[in-house]
Symmetry: C2
Subunit: 266 residues, 2 copies
Amino acid sequence: MGTTSKALSLLSYFSRAMPRIGLSELARLSGLNKATVHRLLSELAEHGFVEQVGAGREYRLGPAFLRLAALREKQVPVREVALQQLTELSNKTGETAHMSLLNGDVLSNLAYAYSNRHGTMVMMEDAEVLELHSTGSGLAVLAYSPASFVDEILSRPLIARTSQTLTDPADIRALLPAIRRQGMAVSTGGFEEDVISHAVPIFDARSACIGAMAVAAPVSRMTDALRHNICDKLMVHARQTTRILGGFPPDTFPPYQPQTPLAEEA
Amino acid sequence: MGTTSKALSLLSYFSRAMPRIGLSELARLSGLNKATVHRLLSELAEHGFVEQVGAGREYRLGPAFLRLAALREKQVPVREVALQQLTELSNKTGETAHMSLLNGDVLSNLAYAYSNRHGTMVMMEDAEVLELHSTGSGLAVLAYSPASFVDEILSRPLIARTSQTLTDPADIRALLPAIRRQGMAVSTGGFEEDVISHAVPIFDARSACIGAMAVAAPVSRMTDALRHNICDKLMVHARQTTRILGGFPPDTFPPYQPQTPLAEEA
DNA sequence: GCGATCGGTTCATTATTTGAACCATTGGTT
DNA sequence: AACCAATGGTTCAAATAATGAACCGATCGC
């Protein structure tokens, strides 16, 4: 691994759950020498990628990202496009819609939209982390990822978020062909109890899967009618999002077919 | 310069004006060897900090920034705080309010708010770059920056954006004491003709100047009454922003005094 | 078909990175 | 108050990774 990669990988240890990290702890997490981590952090800090916070001298992500994210978004307005689509999708389904992007071996939430049709909604947050094995979005991404990547992911310990989380690699592999046939993944209670999530993958210009768009609803509210409505609208908006972003679904991706209660299967 | 710094500095060549850069061009811009740049870009690309775009194989900023910016914003909601303050400021003054952060030797715009009081407004954009010598915000920052930084900035060629831009280092230095006395900088037509900009510096927890909040108005609309209103409201909201962000003005920073037409001077 | 680009690669030389051991501080425990 | 175990940070010889001139193959304009 190059020095630059080491420096950049340090950034990946910052998360919602661990927003500030001390020097020694970061050295432990990354397996690098403390002196090395210190030098890398100093260089990162010089460029505003991290900064030190008050007393404990811990480090946190720096202000440079605001500028660079704004530039990125100006060039490729993924978030803006996603928000438009999600707002429509959420309005049409009456449920929470969200979109997440693949970031290493995990999905991170990019944007979301709530509906005000019901008193209760599945809640979401920006930059929330979604695991590939326990969420509908993750399964959708796995189904359209290279075999080597799937092997890599499934070879690691799969944490059971709920009693319904699939943790056997074989069980998860068995789902993928069906997801590929339908162009959509469904996960019931895999990440949070009582939440059912439908997800459709999003592709880039090289037809690589870069993330997923999903609708998350309380299990208690799910009916055949709602399911069909969600499937139909989700398929439309996910495909549209891929297209607007300049991406192309792979040749094997099933074309859109209007979903009616009669057309149901599986 | 360490390897990491070289890699990170490559990112700084991407801008609104130059959103995509080819390998050879980036090598030329940075003065590094083409092979070196290629290796650094490959490492950056591995982590999603840059990506290659279609035909020309040029590079642009990658999707990783969206996630990291969201995390940063979650931890230190500068943008959110700024937007609230700017919206109020813009409403109270009837003019465009914006806030920019120091990024190396230049300010980059973080957020802005328009008023709908008038048919014409000074326009702004996110991630827009403001030079230190030609803008009100830049002068405010210079006035509260270390002497060595000021020397560094003023030793470089100062581009004349308009016929009214100050390009003589001595002229600019002469302004700084008055700015420090008032806690506010004013620039008329320095960046764009017919725009007058009032700016107040923003400070962090160590009382270092990290950027500026400003109100930009058409010169044609400027009256004594508007000027006093802008000064008063800008002082209030800039100080409030510093405070909310956990920062402290330096001891030398003048305390807020209500601005009335009678209290005017220079 | 030529010349001048481009992105990308190679490999001996070189300079940077590395890490064990070392401070100075801090905070909790005996 | 003495002690221990943390912390962030520093040092410098040894080891490793970065470097860059020259080289491909492809593309473009003429």
